[in-house]
């Protein structure tokens, strides 16, 4: 399996552990990722609030590069960051659906000597793992069964919405399935896709923190040992504000928040250095290592 | 001077096979020669256009004209002969339907000339020389007839009294025609002097055709060994028989070759190709879109197959070539 890889800005900074662990895990599964040449920012959500046409043009540059990069078959971009995944998918969809978007984008790209014919598939790692790789193949690689580990899968909003192509938009299950194939137990909680408030934590703090708190509290209430997620902003947000939440709302939360690819990596027996475990603020290894058959803390 | 009816034979764009077919009457030809007075037969004797022009109107009782109309010279002769003949009979597929030369209606005029004068495998013409259409020599002007953009059947130029179908018409049909003319027992003007039912009616293989025929695959004659006893269509080989006028006694199927449609459609059909296409497509078996596409690919050249003799007289008559119409005439 070969795919184009679009890390996006976050995975180059706050989301580095995601980038590292994803590459490691995909490599272990024999999937070849080629980073998209000279990719640029997807435009994200903020950009759309200023000028949508520019946002589309910006995102489309990446699609155009991808289309040019692949000659055999339709090019597929793997976009792990939720925002990037959404924006690229949206650009692709609206390019197909709305003439004025198609015309605009085509004209803008032409100005840069680029062309886009609309053939790129934008996909999320979860989609690839479930539908292309398949759970059995994942289970086969597991060296350390995550027996007895209670995992809350947190998808965040923008992976499954609004273009839920590979999973239910409000009650997705793909990440849970992957976690179970690692031997872990998944908690069934209703907030899997509820907004974490990340986009507000820098701006309207009160609102952001509240949403954040609700998620953490409910995850614990349902008996989770840790939360796995597939969105860099969510991971950052849920992890970095726990102290503040404890302070503001008199809570005693210390819940490891990690990328689902990191847990996969640990289960596969990949050295934690390659998974960026040490980059996390709340070290998940104790809770994992503490488990029988889990990963010894020294790994 | 004899009072035998004067007869003319003339050829336009044709291969000469029709002329042969007259000789094919074998000994019967003697009877014919006794009965008629041949006044025009360029293939056998020397005639000048001026001789014909000199004739009185309707001087020729009957003229059998074979070949399609492709050049201005042929057009002119057709018009002259129409004037000079009591009955004008389109003789053979080319005059009747446009015939094999009519397949040229799939190509632009220029492309045909280029191929013939420059590209055909047997041509060595590096300077790309083309014949002059007119030339002066010691004050004398000689011109070549104009090469038309479109091939036409005889009745697309002048009114035709009767048609003798076939490539070429069988001696039997010719003899019937001549006797009918001599006896003055002719069908209504404009008739085709052959039966009005399709070939299957007289095909020796008719009874071998299953009533529940469904064609799973199409083959071309060279791809299979055709069973001499069985209906050719039932063997998946395209046979134009069902859409082609009889009268030839199914000579080709009798000779283990599929009918290619030289006698044209029966009177109830306007477009021979369209009808056989309709019939074959309906009788083929696939239902799934891709399968349909694949099976019908077994007929690689629908136009060449279904309109081999009747393209100029089909509803469309000629391939549409927007680039080249309207044509600047030479």
């Amino acid at each position: 399996m070969k795919y184009l890889y679009y890390p996006g800005c976050s995975l180059k900074s706050t989301g580095r552990p995601y980038d590292e662990s994803l590459r490691a895990v995909f490599a272990a599964l024999g999937i070849e990722l080629t980073e998209l040449d000279d990719w640029n920012c997807c435009g994200a959500t903020a950009y759309a609030s200023i000028d949508e046409n520019q946002a589309f043009g910006l995102a489309a540059r990446n699609l155009a590069i991808a289309e040019a990069a692949v000659t055999d078959g339709p090019p597929t971009i793997v976009a792990p960051c939720s925002a990037c995944f959404l924006v690229l998918t949206k650009t692709q969809r609206y390019f197909e659906d709305y003439d004025h978007v198609r015309d605009g984008v085509t004209r803008e790209l032409a100005a840069a000597g680029l062309t886009y014919r609309g053939h790129v598939k934008v996909r999320h790692p979860l989609d690839i793992l479930i539908h292309d790789v398949g759970l059995p193949a994942i289970a086969k690689l597991v060296q350390h069964q995550m027996k007895g580990l209670h995992v809350a899968s947190y998808y965040g909003c923008q992976v499954v919405r609004p273009f839920a192509t590979f999973d239910d938009p409000l009650y997705p299950t793909s990440m849970d399935a992957i976690m179970r194939s690692l031997g872990a137990e998944t908690v069934d909680w209703p907030l899997k896709t509820r907004c974490c408030g990340g986009s507000l934590s820098g701006t309207i703090k009160e609102a952001g923190l509240r949403l954040n708190q609700h998620l953490l509290v409910e995850a614990l209430r349902k008996g989770s040992d840790l939360v796995v997620t597939c969105c860099p902003l969510c991971q950052f947000n849920l992890e970095c504000f726990q102290k503040q939440i404890n302070k503001n709302y008199d809570e005693r939360i210390s819940l490891p928040i990690m990328y689902f690819t990191q847990l996969m990596g640990l289960a596969f027996g990949i050295p934690e250095k390659e998974l960026g475990i040490r980059r996390l603020f709340i070290d998940p290894l104790p809770v994992i290592g503490a488990l029988k058959g889990g990963v010894p803390a020294h790994v | 001077m004899s009072d035998k009816p004067k007869v003319g034979f003339y050829w336009c764009a044709s291969c000469g096979g029709c002329e042969e077919s007259i000789v094919d009457l074998a000994e019967d030809i003697l009877g014919v020669l006794d009965a008629v007075d041949i006044r025009l037969w360029p293939v056998a004797m020397d005639f000048k256009r001026s001789d014909v022009e000199a004739m009185a109107d309707r001087e020729l009782a009957v003229t059998f004209l074979n070949g399609a109309i492709r050049t201005s010279e042929q057009e002119e002769m057709a018009r002259i002969l129409r004037r000079k003949s009591g009955l004008l009979i389109a003789y053979g597929s080319c005059a009747h339907l446009g015939g094999i030369p009519g397949l040229a209606n799939q190509f632009p005029r220029e492309e045909i000339l280029r191929f013939v004068y420059e590209q055909s495998p047997t041509t060595e013409n590096t300077e790309k020389i083309r014949p002059l259409t007119s030339a002066e020599d010691q004050g004398r002007k000689t011109t070549l007839p104009k090469f038309f953009t479109m091939v036409r059947s005889l009745d697309q130029i002048v009114e035709v009294d009767y048609y003798l179908p076939g490539c070429p018409p069988t001696p039997k049909l010719l003899l019937n025609a001549v006797t009918a003319i001599l006896k003055g027992e002719l069908p209504p003007k404009g008739s085709v002097l052959a039966p009005d039912t399709a070939l299957c009616d007289e095909c020796p293989r008719r009874d071998s055709k299953p009533v529940d025929l469904q064609i799973p695959e199409f083959h071309r004659p060279h791809q299979v060994v055709i069973d001499p006893a069985l209906c050719i269509l039932s063997q998946g080989v395209v046979c134009m028989g069902p859409a082609t006028r009889g009268g030839c006694e199914a000579a080709c199927p009798a000779g283990n070759m599929p009918c290619t449609g030289c006698s044209g459609p029966t009177s109830g059909v306007a477009d021979q190709g369209a009808k056989i296409l309709s019939c074959l497509a309906a009788s083929s078996s696939p239902k799934e879109e891709d399968e349909i596409r694949r099976v019908l690919e077994g007929i690689p050249d629908p136009v060449g197959t279904f309109y081999r003799y009747a393209l100029p007289t089909s509803i469309l008559r000629r391939k549409r070539m927007p680039a080249e119409t309207p044509q600047a005439h030479q």
């Binding site: - | 002119e76 477009d271 019908l296 509803i315 000629r318």
Partner: protein, 164 residues
């Protein structure tokens, strides 16, 4: 003026499309489009037949030859034919015929077969609008006109011919 050179009130060329609709599905769908007041392009003319299986390729060719810029056949979805299998026959004829037409210089977009069930009034609208759009892009077919022009190469006045 060519017989098929339809032009609207503003004088610009407008395509003419002949649509053969089967009585049970597509014609009913067109009625439904009407009842639901679904406005769509007017440059097509419906001919009602009982079944798409009745559409003789001669009709299609004849329509083009008489000046149609496009021909549309509408039938019931596969499996839904009121007469069981007429639409399959139409489908097979369509494939062979459109290949024939293409080699006779008539573009693919000018000949179309669509399955439109009695309930798909909306589809009537979209199919027709789309087809008109494609044919506008192709421009007029001008078959009769083209042939008429070619006859210019013939001599019609006998004095040109007979040197008497």
């Amino acid at each position: 003026m060519d017989r098929q050179q339809t032009s609207d009130s503003s004088g610009t060329w407008q395509p003419k499309i002949i649509a053969f609709f089967c009585n049970w599905c597509t014609y009913t769908a067109a009625d439904l489009a009407g009842v639901s007041r679904m406005k769509h392009d007017s440059h097509f003319r419906i001919i009602r037949v009982m079944c798409s299986g009745r559409v003789d390729p001669q009709f299609v060719i004849d329509a083009f030859a008489r000046g149609a810029d496009g021909v549309l056949i509408g039938g019931c979805h596969p499996g839904d034919c009121h007469y069981m299998e007429g639409n399959y026959k139409a489908l097979r004829r369509f494939h062979l015929l459109s290949r024939m037409l293409m080699s006779m210089g008539i573009e693919q977009d000018r000949f179309r077969l669509e399955w439109i069930s009695a309930s798909e009034g909306e589809k009537v609208r979209t199919v027709i609008n789309d087809m008109v759009r494609r044919i506008r892009a192709l421009g007029p077919l001008r078959l009769p006109a083209g042939l008429a022009e070619l006859d210019g190469e013939l001599k019609t006045r006998e004095e040109e011919i007979l040197h008497v």
